[in-house]
Symmetry: C2
Amino acid sequence: MGKWLVGVDLGGTTIKIAFITLDGHIVEKWEIPTNINEDGKSIVKDIAQSIKNQLVQLSETEEKLLAIGMGAPGFIDMKTGFIYHAVNIGWKNYALKEELERETGLPVIVDNDANIAAIGEMWLGAGDGEGNLLMVTLGTGVGGGIIVNGHIMHGTNGMAGEIGHITSIPEGGAACNCGKTGCIETIASATGIARIAKEKAGNDKSSALNRILSENGELKAKDVAYAAENGDQAATETLDEVAFHLGLVIANLSNSINPGKIVIGGGVSQAGDVLMSRLEKQFKRFALPRVAEGASLKVATLGNDAGVIGGAWLAKHNI
Amino acid sequence: MGKWLVGVDLGGTTIKIAFITLDGHIVEKWEIPTNINEDGKSIVKDIAQSIKNQLVQLSETEEKLLAIGMGAPGFIDMKTGFIYHAVNIGWKNYALKEELERETGLPVIVDNDANIAAIGEMWLGAGDGEGNLLMVTLGTGVGGGIIVNGHIMHGTNGMAGEIGHITSIPEGGAACNCGKTGCIETIASATGIARIAKEKAGNDKSSALNRILSENGELKAKDVAYAAENGDQAATETLDEVAFHLGLVIANLSNSINPGKIVIGGGVSQAGDVLMSRLEKQFKRFALPRVAEGASLKVATLGNDAGVIGGAWLAKHNI
């Protein structure tokens, strides 16, 4: 029997952990809560203890495990595995790699959570092994990861792939959490889609979105997708606008980095064809013909498992 | 005495060749005309013969040479050194690497001309050794090269770095040679700057640009820079517009690839501070603060030597 890799994906509320074989089969996956008390000081101990408990459950010993690959939010120094700042967790200047190695006795590699999701999709998901891949994650915010020749692009100070803050509306755009205005995150995130839909529905009293809004007290991106599928005009216009801006961003980036696969993930990607067909149209409009020929646009397939799978890949290839 | 590398930079009218030491010192550089007759069939023989002649002149033998690194226009398959199509030269499906190796008996590596210029600037120019570099060449068109961890980014089918065709004006922009409209090449190239300046001068009869236009029968980018330095309003507005669009393109790309150095080359970069100060202002406006902190914006320093120097670097590192 072969050895196992450990993938860990740290989020603000839960930590996903999995044992994964060298060829990418998930043997066991589970979650534990993220304890952010006292600046997250128990997190590493919790992970180590949970891995030990799970081995006992599976009647295995620590010799079964090869290495840990872990994704974490925030800025990470790849050489040292040091986290400068992870806002949601409470870590500041935290030696994550070193601490987790000490607690588990295993070699550890850490990277940004959006990057390991991109690697996961490259390995076993929609990326289908393509070594030049752009991943765009449309969730509460817009995140991303860029893979070049099979390696995550980090850039000069770890900011590569932060595509949510590409400016789409240079003047008069909505305020973004980053302090700028008009970022693609203000348009193509779940939050951005809901905001635009509310504006459009306000101008169109007959829109089904108004009924959903008054019944539920809020409007979600999936309500907009559902209404658009049913021909609602305000919803359709919303998705047209989102696809125009996102298609332009992806095409412009592709004209520069020339990916073979463009993988759209995150909750918003579950809107499916009603969004993807519009996105593909705008992408092809703004991409150079040879760039468009070289790239296929896909919805992510690994869902919440992308992070632990990407972590396992990193562990396999870097340790 | 150490051996020499050969850098070759093929253009539509001249071929630049240089003998360069392993530490980047140019021993000898010269040019020969590009003979595009009969679909450029004599070009490779011309290069080989010229290298032999120059060795004789310098009283050296072929043993002095290690390898050739060559830049060529068009799409190049990096693995095979095969050129799909070089419009200005006449080559189609041409086995450049193989032919040049046969004629010279030396190992050859070929890459795109914009890419080797970027590598040249990284090695000995404004890039100052920075392994994450974005080069933007503002000439008749707008070209580019992206270097990631010291390696040229090629993308899935050789289109990476084609930043001239990033769409800056998605609707109603000027027609571009690529078939799209509103590409940054239609705005920030020498041709684009002249076009915008003519429009602005047409609306401002008092502009000095009108006098230059009627005296010379044409308006050049350097006339616009000179007039802007002297406070001409139409010229100033032209550079403001160019810097707005180019600054936005560079910032958006930097938010994704996070370069340590951004090098602006080509004839237009000689406009100097009157352009660069405006560009830096717009770049900082649209880049994430940490991305702007990580990147410095510089004018290219190697001029026409960037190609042969980059070619020599490629020869040194790949053979």
